[in-house]
Symmetry: C2
Subunit: 385 residues, 2 copies
C-alpha cells in the first residue's frame, strides 16, 4: 500500500469551502499532505492545507496544472473542469470520484437519464434544451401544472430549483437547459451517504431525515436516524447502494431520496462528495464522513458507519435583512445546552440564507436532541455587526 502518513504523498482537493475545511481536519489527523485550489483568497480551507493555490475551478489549464502536482486528486464541489480531470486520468493520474462519475452528475438532465437507463426509481421527467422548448411543451399540454423546474447546471443550495404552479411562475426562469419533473407528494425527504473505496468495498450510513426551510429551500434540520419504519430505511439503503454501484463512484456519494405517500423510494439527486446531510457524523458516528471519504479515495478499509448517539444538524444560515461582517448572536447561550457543537465555517461576510456554519446536537435520545435542536434554532442568530 502507498504510504500516505507523514510521507511525500500529496492529495489535491478542488474547492476550498467548508467541505474542504472539514476534510482538512482529517488530513491533519492522519498527517496527509494536501494541496487546495479555490477561486477565493478567503477560502475556509486556505489554512490547514500544506499548499493553497488561488484559481478558477472551471478553467482547464488551472485544474490540469494543479492536478499535475499531486498524487491523488479529489473535489469538494461538482463545478470543476471535468475535461481537465479526464485528461489527467488519461495520463494515469488517480482522480476520485472519476471524471466519468462527475460527467453523469454535473448535468441534472444527464443525471436523470442515467437513472432511467439504470432502472433506478426516480420521478417522471422531461429534459429541455432551453426554456423555449419547455414553453412549447406547456402550450402543447405535454407538461401540466404544477411541476418541478430544475436548471440542468449550476443548481446549488436550492438555487436552480422551483415549483411551477402557473404560467406566471415561468417568466422569471432563466433561458437555459432544464428539466421538468412530476411533483411528487412525499412523506419525507431522506438521504443516505454511501462510501465506496477504490477496491469496491461499499458501506452505507444510516438513513437521515431532512427538514427544509420553507422559503430558502435549504435543509434546516438533518435527523439521524430518520424516524421511519425499519423496512423503509432498509429499502432506502438498498436503493442508495444500487445508485452507488451504477455510478461505480469512488469516495462518498450522498443520495437524496423521496419517501412517497405509499412508501416508495425515489432518487431525487446525488452529490459525489461529503454532504451537508452527513455533517452530523462528525459528532455522532464512529467514522465521520470526511474521514470515510479519505479512506475511500486512498483505498483504505472503510470505517464503521454506525452512530454512537443520535445526531441532529441545524444549518446556520445568514438571517434575512443582514449583509456584512458576521456576528453569531447568542452563540454562548447554545454552548450551555447539552451535546451542542457549533461549526463556524469562517466566512467573514454574511448575507441572507448564506451557509455560514452548522450546529450538531447529539443525545442518546433522539427526541431530546430534537427539542434541544429547536432551542438552538430559536437562540442563535447569524446577523451582521
Amino acid at each position: 500500500m502507498a504510504n500516505y502518513f507523514s510521507s511525500d504523498f500529496k492529495l489535491g482537493i478542488l474547492g476550498g469551502g467548508q467541505l474542504g475545511k472539514m476534510l482538512l481536519y482529517e488530513t491533519r489527523k492522519f498527517d496527509i499532505a494536501t494541496h487546495v485550489l479555490d477561486p477565493s483568497a478567503e477560502a475556509p480551507s486556505k489554512i490547514a492545507c500544506n499548499y493553497f493555490e488561488q484559481g478558477d475551478l472551471m478553467d482547464y489549464d488551472t485544474v490540469y496544472n494543479f492536478g499535475q502536482q499531486v498524487d491523488v486528486l479529489t473535489f469538494e464541489i461538482e463545478s470543476v473542469n471535468v475535461d481537465a480531470l479526464a485528461a489527467l486520468e488519461a495520463e494515469g493520474k488517480k482522480v476520485y470520484p472519476s471524471s466519468k462519475t462527475l460527467q453523469n452528475i454535473q448535468d441534472k438532465g444527464v443525471q436523470k437519464q442515467f437513472y432511467k437507463a439504470h432502472k433506478i426509481p426516480t420521478s417522471p421527467f422531461r429534459v429541455f434544451e432551453s426554456k423555449n422548448e419547455l414553453n412549447e411543451a406547456i402550450v402543447r399540454k405535454e407538461i401540466e401544472y404544477p411541476f418541478v423546474w430544475k436548471s440542468c447546471t449550476g443548481g446549488y443550495d436550492g438555487k436552480g430549483v422551483s415549483i411551477i404552479k402557473d404560467a406566471e411562475a415561468i417568466i422569471p426562469l432563466p433561458s437555459g437547459a432544464c428539466i421538468a419533473e412530476k411533483l411528487i407528494p412525499f412523506k419525507n425527504e431522506l438521504a443516505v451517504i454511501v462510501a465506496r473505496n477504490v477496491s469496491g468495498e461499499v458501506a452505507t450510513y444510516p438513513v437521515v431525515e431532512m427538514e427544509f426551510h420553507p422559503e430558502a429551500n435549504q435543509v434546516e434540520y438533518v435527523i439521524c436516524p430518520a424516524r421511519i419504519d425499519e423496512n423503509v430505511s432498509e429499502k432506502a439503503r438498498e436503493v442508495a447502494k444500487k445508485v452507488s454501484n451504477a455510478f461505480e463512484h469512488v469516495g462518498l456519494l450522498a443520495v437524496e431520496l423521496f419517501q412517497t405517500k405509499d412508501d416508495e423510494i425515489l432518487v431525487n439527486e446525488v452529490a459525489p462528495r461529503p454532504h451537508n446531510s452527513g455533517h452530523y457524523s462528525i459528532e455522532a458516528s464512529y467514522t465521520n464522513q470526511f474521514e470515510q471519504h479519505l479512506r475511500a479515495i486512498l483505498d483504505l478499509p472503510l470505517g464503521n458507519t454506525d452512530s454512537k448517539v443520535g445526531g441532529i444538524m441545524v444549518n446556520l444560515v445568514g438571517a434575512e435583512g443582514h449583509t456584512g461582517n458576521v456576528d453569531y448572536k447568542n452563540i454562548e447561550n447554545i454552548l450551555k445546552l447539552e451535546g451542542v457543537t457549533p461549526h463556524i465555517y469562517g466566512k467573514k461576510q454574511t448575507r441572507p440564507f448564506r451557509k455560514m456554519g452548522h450546529v450538531t446536537i447529539v443525545n442518546k435520545d433522539i427526541a431530546k436532541a430534537r427539542q434541544i435542536a429547536e432551542k438552538v434554532k430559536k437562540t442563535i442568530e447569524v446577523i451582521s455587526k
Copy 2:
C-alpha cells in the same frame, strides 16, 4: 461577551507540538484566529494556525513580544518563560492558566510543597537543592532505599524520574535540584482532567486508568472509564476538584493520581493543559478536552464531560532500534478494526520511545475495546524507512 468567532480576536498559543495541533482543530471549528510560537520550524502546529512564529519559549523577550500581539495567551507546554507571562499579566493581558498557577507547577519541589500547604494528599517527600544534598541525606540515613527520585525541573514523558534501589543508581543522576519521594505501592495509576473557566465554573472528566510501558515509563493504555469502584472514582474526582480549586487554575488541569493498596487517593503530579490522558475524549466524550480548554480560557460555558462510549488510547511511540524517517507499518490493518482512529502527529523523524501519535479505540463495551486495543498495539509499528 467578547466575540471570538470569525472576529478580530486573537488567541496566542505557546508551544506548537501535538497538543497545540489538536487544539487547532477546535480553533478552526470555531473559526478563532490563532498565533503559535514554537522553537521548531517543523512544529506540528505550524499549519492550521493563522500566524506561526519560530522562537525560544524560554526567552523572555520572545515570549513577551509574542504575547503583545494577542488578546488571550495560553500554552500547551509548561516549559515557557513564566516571568514574561507575569509581565504581560501586569499589563492587563489575559494569560490562562496564569503565571501563578504555572509557577506552582513548573518546579516539582514547589508543586509538592504546594500540596502539603493545601493539605492535598500526596506521597511523603523531601526537596534537595542539589544531588550533593541528597547524597548527604542518604549518608545520614534520612532517606532509605528504595525511593523515587524526581528532577525538580525539565521532567517530561518519564524523563527526570527514576526509582532508586541502591547507591549504584544514584551515580548517573544529574546534579541539579531534586525531590526524593516515598515509593508508594499502588493498585492503579489514575488521572482526572478538571476544567475550570474564568468565571470559576468547574467540571471533571471521568476517572481514567493508566497502564505504563515498563521501560519507557510512558503511558501505554489510557482506559476510560477506569475499571474501579464507584466510590474510589468519586473520591478521585473530589481530590482532583480540591487540587483545581487550590491552584485556582483556568483551563484544563490534568491530575495524575495513585490509588493505594487501601484505596487512598494520592496526588502524583499535575499538568495545567490538555493531557495525553484526555486524548480518548476526541472520539469518546461529548466535549473533547481541547474544545473544553478553549471554552474554559475564553470563559464560555463548559461542555458535558460525559462519554458517549468507552474509550481507550494507545500511544504510538517510536520502536527501539529505529531512528530516521518514520513509517507507520501496518496502519492499514488497524484501520480494519472496529472503532479505531489513528492520530498521526506529523513528526517526520522517529526515534526510540518518541511520541509520534496515538490511536483511540471506542466501543460501547469497554472490555471489547480493551481487546481491540491490544490488537492495535500488536499490529502497528512505528519504524524508520
